[in-house]
Symmetry: C2
Subunit: 319 residues, 2 copies
């Protein structure tokens, strides 16, 4: 073996570290003061660090969040995770998460990262777009990735896409269609319509998909207002669903559940979504923990934006 011999006494290590870190001498100076060679000082510092003799502490509340984010990246396999600070009182996640998404989007737009942005819809997304500053993004196109409900107001597909386009001085296009085909309608026939074809083509050119996630309770607008006639939340739960992304219901492992509803969703399917180069998911809340995990496991998510409370719940679940 050729491992270099390094076994200085702790007193020596401590003194080297002390001169170097506390007194802020250079390694050369430490060597001179202590009457040894610079090499030994250099090695001593490495040994001390390896032995955990020196511990750097970063005294900032932000560090906890950074650690949380890194842990999320590791455990969920996403390449970026952002934890907005949740309001611990109300745990109204829409505010912080919306702001974080807005900030993230703003940065990207400013860098000119995207020309065609695909949107889903929901309260989280609406909040984010509200907080987006008014700015001009040259040649940007906002494209809705799924159909909308007939009700639902400003957080519906129409409201979300138009609000964003308005904020950014962009054009937008959306499906003039419900989320789900009614049972019996032939999907191919329906989509053969010229307007839909043009829109579907646009979806192939997206360079960013902004996703949200819904759970399978009445809290989800999709569930409470958008499900096709005859489909109940209980059906979906029975099929293993933990929530939806773009109207496609996933089980805990991230696979689409075996239920006809996934075949009748109007819009970009998950395979198509995977071809969009950049994908961000903004979602938070205790009830969404499972679907967020599922979406990440499915590999849909590159950037996850959530809040610290939800993040901790997810990590707890993944432990």
């Amino acid at each position: 073996m050729n491992s270099i011999q390094t076994d200085e006494t702790e007193a020596f290590l401590a003194e080297v570290c002390w001169h170097y870190y506390v007194n802020e001498l250079t390694q050369s100076d430490v060597a001179r003061v202590m009457g040894v060679t610079r090499l030994r000082v250099n090695r001593a510092l490495q040994e001390a660090r390896a032995a955990g003799l020196v511990r750097v502490e970063i005294a900032s509340p932000f560090v906890a969040r950074l650690e949380l984010q890194a842990e999320l990246c590791r455990k969920l396999g996403v390449s970026e995770a952002i934890c907005a600070p949740a309001d611990p009182e109300t745990h109204d996640y829409h505010g912080p998460v919306g702001a974080a998404l807005a900030h993230w989007l703003e940065k990207g737009f400013r860098e000119g990262a995207w020309k065609a942005v695909g949107l889903s819809w929901g309260l989280t997304l609406k909040t984010a777009i509200q907080r987006l500053p008014r700015m001009t993004v040259e040649g940007l196109e906002v494209v809705s990735m799924i159909g909308g409900t007939s009700q639902g107001g400003s957080f519906n597909a129409f409201g979300v896409a138009s609000a964003m386009a308005d904020k950014l001085g962009a054009n937008y296009s959306l499906f003039s269609a419900p989320i789900y085909l009614s049972p019996g309608t032939d999907r191919a026939t329906f989509l053969a319509e010229g307007a839909f074809q043009a829109h579907l083509a646009r979806l192939q050119t997206l360079d960013l998909a902004v996703l949200v996630a819904g759970d399978v309770t009445e809290r989800s607008f999709l569930v409470s207002m958008g499900l096709p006639t005859g489909v109940t939340p209980q059906d979906l739960l029975a099929a293993g669903a933990v929530g939806d992304v773009l109207g496609h219901f996933l089980d805990a492992s991230g696979a689409e559940i075996a239920h006809p509803i996934n075949g009748s969703a109007i819009g970009l399917d998950l395979e198509g979504l995977m071809r969009v180069p950049q994908r961000v998911l903004a979602a938070a809340g205790q009830h969404k923990v499972d679907v967020i995990i599922a979406a990440c496991r499915r590999g849909l998510v590159q950037t996850l934006i959530t809040d610290d409370v939800t993040a901790r719940l997810m990590l707890e679940k993944l432990r």
Copy 2:
């Protein structure tokens, strides 16, 4: 003013520090990951350090002693201070301090730093010499700097000098004289004696003086056995004495007290001592706190060897 504008948010600073210190990226990599320039990372790190955001902690019991030593250097104006670890039970300082002095001397001898070493005498010094390893120091001369008492055994001037010379294979020379002239004896006449003249000449060539300090109580052998007839500890205390170095009694400020005894000491006087290029004082114990401080204030001491208990007592006094 031309102070560069650096006012990053704490979140930014924390993230930079986190990547740099926790993840151990280089500054360039941090810059790349965070999408900023290396310069900003570099500045951020400096700002964070300046703001106390990063705190390096050295987890070692030795650090406390290093800090103690640095504090002693600063407060006492000595260039080197060594605190041996005292036995907190017995607080027998002779062992640790003796060992520390022995170690310090051994290092110097090994480097061939000295050719002529001046000694005082006392228990501390005797202990140190006992712990000195047997070694050969080419051409070394051991010289006693003061006279001795007629009693006192192996810690007396004779015992100390001969023991050290024996350990180091050196020659030694000493005063065949008491510490103090009896009242009435003329100093000049007494020292005109040929043997003394030769010895005094040797004292001019010393390159190291090994000093100890005594207090003004019966615990000091000098006080209990060596004082000239008619001089009592009370006399000395009344004159402001806090202890002695080389038989010269000092007041709290380090000045020699106005008492005839300082004029009748046989040996190197303090002015002569100051001409010895290197001077080390080994002393510890609660009762010696004042005299050690005094000796340092007088500028007699370059290297102070004591124990941590005494060190803390001294710093407490100097606060």
